[in-house]
């Protein structure tokens, strides 16, 4: 094609014309583009600016620090500790498998944890951090941090987690926290946005649950700039939240520890109440469990073991467990009779070992009979017949009124889970609940705290404290909130004749100080700390004639879960009461044999504030007590909590 280009006028004209047309077309396109830019950037600018801000700014919640819980001496019962976890981002990690393998060499990673992490890493978005290891130690975290260059995409993170340094001692009182579950969310009408945060902990039981609103605090917020991958680039501003409120319990950690240790593996409960303030110095239930197990989710093996244990460790028997009060109810019957002037303390009743009421024979525990009994001796020896007669004369309505006056049959407003109201029966109640009329036999049963009457160990302690002081003492579990002292449970006088109360107390004194008293063997020898008490043995079930024929005559011969409950209530010192104690040992046999020694030991421990001298015990017990003290000392928490009080 070696030939000069055409340079003709016609060609040039045509190109010029077409060139101009094309140029015009291009100008049109340019104009359109210009208008489009003007539209987006000037007319709609505000809207798009808003969208851009929405893109880049995230509002994040700052979880508040949960309020701490202290005992009455300032010892930490529940605190927050830094919890470390390790997260991993696929996008940054690159070769996930080899990074995980290296991580596994540094820290303790179970194969199934690796498998779950891998699965999550594969399925979630590449820029989402996945938790690979939870609750890792500071050592592991520092190892990971030191090897950071070899672990791309791996980030150690820190948060706060609840911990209970005293372990099982306060488990039924304080309860525990756990991650928010769907079930929790469903129960709350308008859940705080905090609850939707992953791994946020809320109270599940006990004070942690009941005082959740106080303990949780208010979330703060911070506005952060994030990039498209959601990674925080910088903080723009923050509004601090409000940390949760600290609570101080009325409970003494040393006494609580002693109570738990003394109850040991029995299925039992014990309550120590201060007769001045109503403070619950100890409120124990056994067996207990370590609440720390629940904080991050308990394994199903552990949980099933707790569920299937026939001693029911998950139940706070001190407030949730209700028992027929047995003979400990006799003070109520006696006071009701005295107050209605049906008897005088000196009047006697002859005990022949049984009474006949409406063709039924009701036995005294002492089949041979006690002979002539007055109030004092009947209490001391726990004569059933005497109280049968009293109950028949007094009537159930007066007895119930007195029971209520002394604190039974009502729910106390203490922040524990499942606080039970117990039961003080009346004619009306029986008609409504059982659809049957009150019969005379019901009154006879009620006279010795059997039948329908039900009381929790807490109620029994309150009852004893009210008898000891004559005041309407109410229990107090929270001593102060955020340093503000809560109203005490001191209470107004009960409007019960002081002479009548004194008669009852004298009877109770003899129970544990007279050699004919049912709890004489569990007496206190220290003069300044003499205690007054009352034993109780409540039948779970009668020994059937068939069993009797088969040779079962004694309680101990029955299977454990059919044996009687053992109860004991007392106050001390007798002359100027400082504390009242109640002990219930489920299926423990007799109150005098099982419950009274426990109550005596707890009483002495509370009054001395430490291991009492052996001289306070009857001589024949001293060797046993000495070795018991030694054993229980090993279970004590370390004397000082040397960790900082604020996490």
């Amino acid at each position: 094609m070696r030939r000069p280009s055409r340079e003709t006028a016609q060609s040039q004209r045509r190109i010029t014309r077409r060139g101009l047309v094309l140029g015009g077309l291009q100008l049109g396109v340019l104009g359109t583009l210009g208008f489009r830019m003007h539209y987006l950037q000037v007319k709609e600018a505000e809207q798009y600016r808003f969208l851009a801000e929405e893109n880049r700014i995230n509002i994040e919640l700052i979880p508040p620090t949960r309020g701490q819980i202290f005992d009455r001496t300032g010892r930490i019962v529940a605190r927050n500790v830094p919890a470390y976890r390790i997260t991993m981002t696929r996008k940054d990690a690159g070769d996930v498998d080899s990074v995980l393998a290296r991580l596994g060499a540094l820290i303790d990673l179970a194969p199934e944890d690796i498998a779950t992490a891998l699965e999550e890493l594969r399925t979630r978005r590449g820029d989402t951090p996945i938790t690979v290891a939870d609750r890792v130690t500071w050592d592991e975290i520092s190892r990971v941090a030191a090897n950071a260059p070899a672990l791309p995409g791996v980030t150690p993170e820190v948060g706060l987690s609840r911990t209970y340094p005293l372990g099982a001692d306060f488990t039924h009182v304080v309860g525990y926290v756990g991650p928010v579950s769907d079930y929790d969310l469903a129960r709350i009408d308008a859940p705080d946005r905090l609850l939707l945060m992953p791994r946020f902990q809320i109270g599940k039981t006990g004070i942690e649950a009941r005082e959740e609103d106080r303990l949780r605090g208010k979330a703060g917020t911070r506005r952060v700039e994030v990039n498209a991958a959601g990674r925080v680039m910088r903080e723009l501003d923050r509004r601090e939240g409000q940390p949760g409120t600290d609570l101080q319990l009325a409970t003494d950690y040393m006494l609580q520890n002693y109570v738990q240790a003394r109850l040991g593996e029995e299925s039992a409960a014990a309550v120590v109440i201060d007769t001045e303030t109503g403070d619950l110095l100890a409120i124990g239930s056994s067996p207990a469990f370590d609440p720390n197990l629940f904080v991050n989710g308990i394994s199903s093996t552990n949980y099933n073991a707790l569920l299937q244990n026939d001693h029911r460790p998950l139940v706070a028997k001190s407030v949730q467990g209700v028992y027929p009060p047995g003979s400990t109810f006799k003070m109520v019957v006696a006071l009701a009779a005295l107050e209605s002037e049906i008897i005088t303390p000196e009047e006697t009743v002859r005990c022949r070992g049984y009474i006949e009421v409406a063709d039924n024979r009701f036995h005294c525990w002492k089949r041979a009979g006690h002979g002539n009994m007055n109030l004092h001796t009947a209490l001391r020896e726990s004569c059933d017949v005497y109280f049968y007669e009293l109950a028949l004369k007094t009537g159930i309505e007066r007895i119930s009124a007195m029971a209520r006056k002394l604190g039974l049959g009502q729910r106390y407003d203490i922040p524990m889970s499942g606080v039970h109201a117990g039961l003080v029966p009346t004619r009306e109640w029986k008609r409504a609940a059982r659809g049957a009329d009150w019969v005379i036999g019901d009154s006879v049963n009620a006279a010795i705290g059997q039948g329908f009457v039900l009381a929790s160990p807490l109620q029994l302690a309150v009852m004893t404290a009210r008898i000891a002081t004559g005041r309407r003492i109410t229990p107090r579990l929270i001593k102060s909130i955020d340093g503000v002292e809560q109203p005490s449970g001191h209470g107004e006088p009960l409007d019960i004749n002081e002479n009548n109360l004194r008669a009852i107390r004298r009877g109770m004194f003899s129970v544990s100080n007279n050699n004919r008293g049912t709890a004489f063997s569990s007496r206190i020898l220290a003069d300044e700390f003499r205690m007054s008490g009352k034993t109780g043995t409540s039948q779970v079930r009668r020994i059937t004639p068939a069993e009797r024929r088969a040779g079962v005559t004694r309680n101990e011969d029955l299977p454990w879960n059919r044996r009687d409950h053992a109860l004991f209530v007392n106050f001390a010192p007798h002359d100027l009461p400082r504390i009242a104690v109640s002990v219930v040992v489920e299926h423990g046999g007799g109150g005098s044999a099982t419950a009274a020694p426990i109550a005596r030991d707890i009483t002495l421990q509370a009054l001395y504030g430490d291991d009492p001298p052996l001289s306070a015990y009857p001589a024949k017990d001293r060797a046993r007590i000495s070795s018991q003290q030694e054993k229980l000392r090993d279970l004590r928490p370390p004397a000082r909590d040397d960790r900082p009080t604020r996490a």
């Binding site: 070696r2 340079e7 950037q41």
Partner: protein
Amino acid sequence: MSYLEHTVKYTPSGPRKVFYLNWPIAVLLASVAAIGFLMLYSVAGGTLQPWAEPQMKRFAAGFVLMLGIAMMPLYFWRNVALVAYLGTVALLALVAVMGEIGMGAQRWIDLGFIRLQPSELMKITLVMLLAAYYDWLPLSKVSHPLWVALPAAMILLPTLMVLGQPDLGTAILLLAGGGAMMFLAGVHWAYFAAVIAAGVGMVTTVLQSRGTDWQLLNNYQFRRIDTFLDPSADPLGAGYHITQSKIALGSGGWAGRGFMQGTQSQLNFLPEKHTDFIFTTLAEEFGFIGAISLLGLYALIIFFCVVSALSNPNRFAALLTLGIAATFFLYFAANMAMVTGLIPVVGVPLPLVSYGGSAMIVLMAGFGLVQSAHVHKPR
């Protein structure tokens, strides 16, 4: 043509050619490229690596290439047009074959210092060939069906090859660029009317084919069309690109958010921020003023090309210059229309600004041809 007129006509030769370069175009190209460096520096978070510095080197190489091409006599380029075209077709075939025999689907050939995309090169060689063809063809035969069919075949052959890569964006640009050449050469209006009508019919057919067993586009291409029609339907999926792009553009406002202050690009909300969507970064950080200024620079380049072409009596030179200008125009207009949401996302870079070697080198070569036409214009 009088004797006098004849003697004043003068074509520069030797080193003097440098003085006759179209310097305004050269300066405009450098300015646009400089804006590109600035934006690449910004999207890299204020560093020359990994994009700005390589881009500068490439532009320098491209600029030298442009000068080199400009120094060669124009008839040389006309004479090699057919060879260049056939060579590019061969390269297109080569990448297709390489994809077939297991090196994975790819659109480029690695030359060591640059990854050359034959489809990019084709944009220039196709214009060269068509300019040479219409220079050779007597004007009277331009609208003759036979002589229309021949250039149509020249256009369709590489277009179909590129479509098969598959690279819809470049294929459309090739088709449009070739069509512009035929239009400039003076092919009768009726042909274009017919093609447009056929095109509309074809688009309808393609859309109808969706979901049938003779589906004509890949699913991802259909999704792009859906996304274009309603980007908000899937803001985190397929619509993400265009939604974020519009947010970036819009949030720039009049004066922009300031150099390196664009949150959309700096925080990675913008996809492909250093390549196809670099214009949005510019528009976000320098606002409407910045965006319209770049548009103005591009328009000026086209303007100087048109002026140069229309004052050139050489038919090959004029067609070549206008063709290159039209190709260049299609590039940036398609890119800007795409990022502003006027047309679907088709993957067209912003010429001289987007990071990328092939397009830069090929475009500078194209402007070398424009310069050659300008330098060798009889004066």
